[in-house]
Subunit: 272 residues, 2 copies
């Protein structure tokens, strides 16, 4: 299963962004990729006060463009994340996934909001304008079951484990770490979640632009079920293609049966 | 709080081992260390058929020697782990901790047994001769609350998290990875558990001896609540001293409030 990750530049123009997405779709088809992964907030500046401005309902313009591209290019599209307008006017950080026919097959609303205040480093409070989701998201594809969460969600071992217990062998993570947390934790977090859960992890980030107020770390990454980095980008705009053999997750779980060895007689981890 | 980790050579002679432990106790006192940490199975060859042979009841000879050394040198002693003989003749992989007066203040029986069969790599089945423990272990010291587990236990995010939720700001892990899993996962696992749980982690391994049947990875390690390695040894016999500021755990948890941001309304992790 080939995936293409597009580390897109953030732009305030939807048309500009979708021009770029169309181009990477063409590249994905050319490279025979089955899934295209986009970054967190790929068509909205990563600024809390912009989320309500750019928010659209499910089925809105951005959603429709994504669905149409998936169908047009006959490709699974993990459409990064976008600000979603809820029924009561609330705003979510939402990730959609479309199948090759353009049907929405997964939707995840970021359930852990990124509120951080590091001394001498990053200040950011998503909760200023966003509402948190409340569902754990896994979905089926022709390649197997996948999990889906967004950036800060992936810092919580409980969520990754629950997705894996629901069958995920691949976890898709549209994300945008910054230049404070990126060098400290980005690669470590992806490798660790892959190792503990013996699954593939796919972290797709926006590209870094020092003219933006939020400096994305970039470094889109794929790690395998041993926790080894298969491929990682730098901070610049671009793409990478990675070929995954999902049966490797089964082989690793057989040789080192971590999931089987969990002491579920002594502790329980459950979705409420 | 200064700790001294002793990466001891495995020996089949108890007297030889305790001669070495006495020497590191003296070094610890000289260096003003408050805690001495020893490796997993520090006075028994790491071979499943040796565990029943070397097993002693709590309060037996090895236990008494450890207690006496802690008292004699007025030091906290995390006495690695030893094969413990249970009431019904069963054998555990057990870690004891003694306070400065030689009182046992913690006891952990390895609760995840290491049964592994890696293609072209390591085969080892602790469950051939060992019985698994069933308790999560934290204990109080003059420096704060600490957690205690053994080697393979630390591969389970559930256990580390539960120790931290019970107050641990330091987790002691007597361990002995091997030359298959060591290079792949040793440092990654310690850094990751420290990062996810925002605590200090202290992994103390036996030294590598290629004449042994089990080739220990060594590399005794300390990582801080940011997931950064403070100090790591190579595979050879020796010691390292690390100075910890436990208040750093509180500072990290304040700046990046991962523990507070857990969605306990959506998932639960509990000790049974």
């Amino acid at each position: 299963m080939k995936i293409l990750q597009a580390q897109l530049a953030v732009s305030s123009s939807k048309d500009e962004v979708f021009q770029a997405v169309d181009e990477v779709c063409q590249q994905a088809v050319k490279e025979d990729a089955s899934l295209l992964a986009l970054p967190e907030m790929f068509c909205c500046p990563y600024e809390t006060d912009k989320f309500p401005v750019y928010a659209e309902k499910e089925g809105g313009d951005v959603w429709t463009r994504c669905s149409e591209l998936a169908k047009k290019y006959n490709i699974y599209l993990s459409a990064g994340s976008v600000p979603e307008l809820g029924e009561a006017g609330e705003v979510y950080n939402t990730a959609y996934v479309f199948d090759r026919q353009g049907n929405q097959i997964a939707k995840h609303r970021k359930m852990h909001l990124f509120d951080i205040d590091i001394k001498g480093g990053q200040y950011f409070k998503e909760s200023d304008t966003l509402t948190a989701g409340k569902d754990i998201t896994v979905f089926d594809t022709e390649f197997g079951t996948m999990g889906l969460c967004i950036c800060y969600d992936f810092r919580f071992p409980e969520l990754a484990r629950l997705m894996v217990l629901k069958g995920a062998k691949v976890i898709l993570v549209p994300a945008a770490f910054n230049t404070t947390t990126g060098p400290r934790h980005w690669e470590l977090m992806f490798r660790a979640q892959a190792m503990f859960n013996q699954c593939f992890v796919i972290g797709t980030s926006s590209a870094q632009n020092l003219a933006d107020t939020y400096h994305s770390w970039g470094h889109s990454i794929v790690a395998d079920p041993w926790g080894k980095v298969i491929s990682q980008m730098d901070e610049k705009e671009g793409c990478q293609i990675v070929d995954l053999d999902l049966a490797e997750a089964d082989r690793v779980r057989q040789q080192l049966p971590l999931l089987k060895h969990r002491r579920t007689d002594l502790y329980t981890l459950e979705e409420k």
